[in-house]
């Protein structure tokens, strides 16, 4: 396809992204909301990125989240456990004009797929990763996952988990992901906004979505999803805006002299002491510190933590290949095999 020619893409409706399959998750599962919000923003994403539906691909691994591709009327793979990023890499490098999404969960992405996730992020492959974090293994019926809390009682930890949980966004930031965000299944507006921004980002975008598994881990995120308490328990990150939260917007997250975050009343500090959120900070300790904030001591940050411009992996690959081709015109294969470090083994 000639990428310089503007594509005349059709105007889509939400329904155009729904497949003929009836979604099968447990009634009330947070996955329904994620699917619905994604389908709602897809027409606008297609328009803004000029990506026709047939150039969109959803790749998943294994788990409840990974049923996703069946329900999207786009291309898709339901692939192998933890390996969705590897398929995405192969596809995106060979077909950079595609919009590739990875749909994964805390088990798929952080247990068996932890390695692949990290390398996908550091390479800055142009892929959008939706990580449904429900802090439990749902598909296998309720064992602790890498994000389950210390002390969590599950079928595989009847006396409470003795393992400390992983923090997906701290890992993403440390892996140099260029777009890092968090959203909540039960906050449709936030989820739609974050998904859209991720889609528009060029490079590895990861969105951790707090997802309620109402069967095996019900209410795991009630503190951030309940309408009554969410403004007091979440910190909505907005580029250029101060780190202020609370229903009355009367609390702020600041750093003390030891650069440790703490919560203060806005009335106790002057406006110039407020920290301003900046998504373009590159290797900032502050962004990492934000990812480490835990409820109930701190509000849970939601929204976009980081959004950086950087060359993508596939751009670099193609640039390198083109440059090499330009400098050295095609050589016969045999010549190539015989070149460089080859030798004969004495008989």
């Amino acid at each position: 396809m000639n990428q310089t020619e503007p594509l005349n893409i059709p105007t889509y409706q939400k329904e155009d992204f729904a497949s003929d399959q009836t979604p099968r998750w447990c009634p009330g599962c947070g996955d329904y909301s994620i699917l619905a919000q994604l389908q709602r923003v897809m027409p606008a994403i297609a328009e803004q990125t000029q990506t026709p539906r047939e150039n969109m691909v959803f790749i998943s691994g294994i788990g409840c989240s990974s049923r996703f591709p069946y329900y999207m009327n786009t291309y898709g793979f339901h692939s192998i456990h933890g390996r969705a990023p590897t398929l995405a890499l192969g596809l995106q490098v060979s077909r950079p004009e595609l919009m590739t999404w990875v749909v994964t969960g805390d088990g798929d992405a952080l247990s068996i797929g932890g390695n692949h996730l990290m390398h996908c992020l550091r390479r800055n492959l142009n892929v959008k990763i939706l990580l449904f974090n429900n802090r439990i293994y749902g598909l296998t019926k309720g064992q602790y996952s890498p994000t389950s809390e210390l002390g969590k009682r599950t079928k595989s930890s009847p006396l409470g988990s003795v393992a400390r949980p992983l923090n997906p966004l701290s890992i993403a930031l440390a892996s140099q992901a260029t777009f890092v965000a968090r959203a909540v299944d039960r906050d449709p507006k936030l989820l739609q906004d974050v998904i859209t921004q991720a889609a528009l980002h060029k490079g590895s975008a990861i969105v951790e979505i707090y997802q309620n598994c109402n069967i095996f881990n019900d209410g795991a995120f009630a503190h951030v999803s309940e309408r009554k308490s969410r403004d007091d328990n979440t910190l909505k990150l907005q580029h250029g805006e101060p780190l202020v939260f609370g229903r009355q917007r009367d609390k702020a997250v600041v750093l003390n002299e030891q650069l440790q975050p703490r919560v203060v009343a806005t009335s106790e500090i002057s406006e110039s002491d407020l920290l301003i959120h900046d998504t373009s900070r590159d290797n900032s300790g502050l962004t990492y510190a934000l990812s480490q904030l835990q409820y109930p001591e701190f509000p849970v940050p939601v929204g976009i933590f980081r959004a950086l411009k950087a060359p993508t992996y596939e751009e670099r690959v193609h640039q390198q290949v083109n440059e090499a081709k330009r400098q050295k015109p095609a050589t016969a294969l045999q010549q190539l095999l015989d070149s460089g470090e080859t030798w004969r083994v004495a008989e």
Partner: protein, 107 residues
């Protein structure tokens, strides 16, 4: 797609649906609730929760109740969000299971 509240709800308003909906898409009228089709995520949880069996997937609404698809859409724009069970009408049980309640709908 979305789920739709139909006639069975009129004057019953048990509101068990409100307690279970994960995305708060019920809207409350004087004597009936509707679902905002632009908010419903099709999770199906409210269907078994409704004691009046008044909730259907839009494609499965019985023919004689078809006007409720448009009604839900229309009133969702007007009526206020309800995310907590309120007071059940005192005479709810008198109305339970009755058919032909559409004429009693208050807007």
């Amino acid at each position: 797609m979305a789920y739709v509240v139909t006639e069975g709800c009129i004057n019953c308003k048990q509101m068990d649906c409100v307690e279970v909906c994960p995305v708060d898409c019920f809207r409350e009228g004087p004597n009936m609730l509707v679902i905002d089709p632009n908010e419903c995520v099709d999770c199906t949880l409210c269907v078994p929760a409704c004691p009046e069996k008044a909730i259907f997937r839009d494609g499965d609404v019985p023919v004689e109740q078809h006007q409720f698809v448009a009604l839900n859409e229309e009133m969702a724009e007007v009526w206020e969000l309800i995310d907590e069970k309120g007071d059940v009408p005192a005479d709810a049980s008198d109305w339970s299971g009755r058919v032909g309640k559409f004429e009693f709908l208050q807007r």
